[in-house]
């Protein structure tokens, strides 16, 4: 409930505020969004598994986002930024798929 409410609030605020993304953040924001999405889906899965812990959710959210951003930063510094961000996206995509399939199994019991 709180999660859905938060998502809606974020969308509304984003639609109305429209801030300029600082230049240094531009390469990282998409990765961070995907990482946060992965954390959210992991939390949803945990919720369905009755093992949801808010503390774990908060920590995993931040660690996911920060790790993804750091990886991209590292890649940029090593000159393989685009490749490494592709790698991060792929890994996060795989995790999102597995989380979604776990959620599906809980919803449809199979």
């Amino acid at each position: 409930m709180a999660a859905v409410l938060g998502l809606i609030i974020g969308v509304v605020v984003g639609l109305f505020v429209k801030p300029d993304i600082p230049v240094w953040l531009q390469p990282y924001l998409p990765i961070m969004v995907v990482a946060a999405l992965d954390a959210l889906l992991g939390a949803a899965r945990a919720y369905f598994e009755r093992s949801f812990s808010d503390k774990v959710f908060v920590i995993s959210f931040f660690s996911n986002v920060i790790t993804a951003a750091l990886l991209v930063l590292l890649g940029n510094q090593l000159g393989v930024g685009s490749q490494l961000s592709t790698a991060v996206i792929v890994v996060l995509g795989i995790r999102i798929f597995s989380n979604v399939s776990a959620i599906r199994r809980f919803i449809f019991q199979g």
Partner: protein
């Protein structure tokens, strides 16, 4: 005391758990809001993120852009050339229509199709008292006027054009099929002094009319001679314009 403290403790622990639950759900909501906020901002950020591009991509994009600029420049040059040629064509057409209009006017006056006015002279010639004025003398008068630079000439009711003839009829002169009866009024548009001189020349047609035929010749100059007589255009049967 014990009874009193125990529920209070339970209550406080309940309140605390409620508060933590509220806090955590608030935190979860905040994080979700952060996520969707970042998503929307990223979606709305339609600027090309040149920051994330590699050098090769940037080089390729630069060359593509400059090629496109070159193509557009070429296209612009071509279009402006077309525009210039179209404008020139339009100018030419306007010029041609202006010339055609001028030609139409001048040839209309020349052929006697249009009435004309301007400075010139009006010659009044009375009936000859010694003899009837003959066609040759009258034609001489016209020729003298033409030599004097007359642009438009009319005798009585007849506009004199290139094909005008004067012939001797049984009881007077005939000009272009119309009988001319004295007194004759000859109007001519042109330089009035030249025309006056052409008629009044010593030994010229004016003095011949006076001396030989006994007619009175009265030359009147005017700044506004109106010649309203017109001739209908002849239908050219044989002559055709050379294309």
């Amino acid at each position: 005391m014990v009874k009193k403290t125990k529920p209070k403790k339970e209550l406080s622990s309940q309140a605390r758990s409620l508060r933590t639950r509220l806090l955590t759900s608030l935190l979860v909501a905040a994080l979700c809001a952060l996520l969707s906020f970042g998503y929307v901002v990223q979606v709305n950020n339609t600027d090309m993120t040149y920051e994330t591009m590699t050098e090769a991509e940037l080089t390729r994009m630069l060359s593509e852009t400059s090629t496109q600029v070159q193509r557009l420049e070429e296209r612009r040059t071509e279009l402006s050339r077309q525009l210039t040629s179209l404008q020139q064509a339009a100018d030419k057409e306007a010029e041609a229509s202006r010339i055609a209009k001028e030609n139409e006017e001048s040839s209309g006056i020349l052929s006697g199709r249009l009435p004309a006015e301007g400075q010139g002279i009006i010659v009044h010639i009375s009936r000859g008292s010694k003899a009837q004025i003959d066609a040759a003398t009258m034609f001489n008068l016209i020729e003298e006027l033409r030599n004097g630079g007359a642009e438009v000439i009319a005798i009585n009711d007849v506009r004199v054009v290139t094909s005008t003839y004067i012939s001797q009829g049984d009881d007077g002169l005939i000009c272009d099929g119309t009988a001319l009866n004295p007194p004759y009024v000859v109007k001519a548009i042109g330089d009035k002094n030249n025309l006056q001189n052409a008629v009044n020349l010593a030994g010229g047609v004016g003095s011949r009319l006076t001396v030989k035929y006994g007619a009175t010749v009265d030359v009147e100059t005017s700044d506004d001679v109106k010649i309203t007589q017109t001739q209908s255009l002849p239908d050219y049967k044989y002559a055709k314009t050379v294309e």
